[in-house]
Point group: C2
Chain length 179, copies 2
């Protein structure tokens, strides 16, 4: 298959469900050779997540993830891009305050990745934040979060302890950076 064979154009589609978090669409596409395909696509506004640490700890959280039937899912601070006009870094700053109670002086983008390319357009913007200070913020009343300061010297243990994509990517990046 050549690059030309992979070109496609969007034809039409229908919205199955427009929810609070996801919009489910069924869309049709046509390839250059005339073949048409139908795809189920979960449209999602995207998310921001932050690898945040001081000299001693990387700050993780435990929270319930109902879809996984897991009350203690371990992950880095993160949230959806659900505020009008807010940039990914601003969303990460907000989540850092709400979930960990910290502000960070230094922000660096790590990467922007696709969560599940076969079914969704969700992008996750991943940042590295250091230079921490306390910053109080109203926690989202629906969040049931435990802050987990994990020893920075044991990134291998944190990577083994989580099942979360953004957390694995972020902590593997930090391990490489510190190597």
């Amino acid at each position: 298959m050549s690059a030309a064979d992979r070109r496609f154009e969007a034809l039409d589609g229908r919205t199955i469900y427009e929810g609070r978090i996801v919009t489910l669409r069924v869309e049709r596409f046509r390839f250059a050779d005339g073949d048409e395909v139908e795809r189920e696509i979960v449209r999602h506004q995207g998310a921001a997540a932050v690898v945040v640490h001081d000299e001693e700890h990387v700050y993780l959280v435990r929270q319930p993830r109902e879809a996984l039937n897991d009350p203690d899912f371990l992950e880095i601070p993160a949230g959806r891009l659900d505020q009008e006009g807010e940039s990914p870094q601003e969303a990460a700053e907000r989540e850092l305050a709400e979930e960990i109670g910290k502000a960070a002086a230094t922000w660096e983008p790590i990467c922007t990745y696709v969560s599940s390319a076969g079914m969704s357009d969700e992008l996750v913007h991943l940042f590295h934040a250091t230079g921490l200070s306390d910053r109080s913020a109203d926690a989202d009343e629906n969040e049931r979060i435990e802050i987990v300061p994990w020893p920075l010297a044991d990134l291998d243990g944190a990577i083994a302890a989580t099942r979360d994509a953004k957390t694995i990517i972020g902590l593997q990046w930090l391990r490489q950076r510190r190597a």
Copy 2:
């Protein structure tokens, strides 16, 4: 919030759409303190993916990902767990044959991760495969795939060139393994 505050039980739910790839559900849960929440959940059968290399190249593919409007999305070989009774490793073996035309003598699990914990139960089973030999298999007629042998000495370049979660996780793991 204590661990007890994060406990929940499933109440009921309804199926919004049952598709070929995803099933969209709206489900209700109740926490120990009585609070009830409603969640949009994308149920997915899961996937298997494989970091596969010989002494010179790691084998990636380019393929169209319609949800992302990207005809040339770069990723490791992978596929859904859509065959009855097939284990994750068997699915990875099948995809390796279909997409790359190879079999592997040595298989090692890397991890099983959650793609998008906030909205889906999708699990991705990630494997490391070596000891390659040629193995012909009928390619899925719907797959428009270009095999991309990427120099093993340039894993940093491959990590920078992809936006795909499973590929970043797998190649970061391989870079650490080879360090």
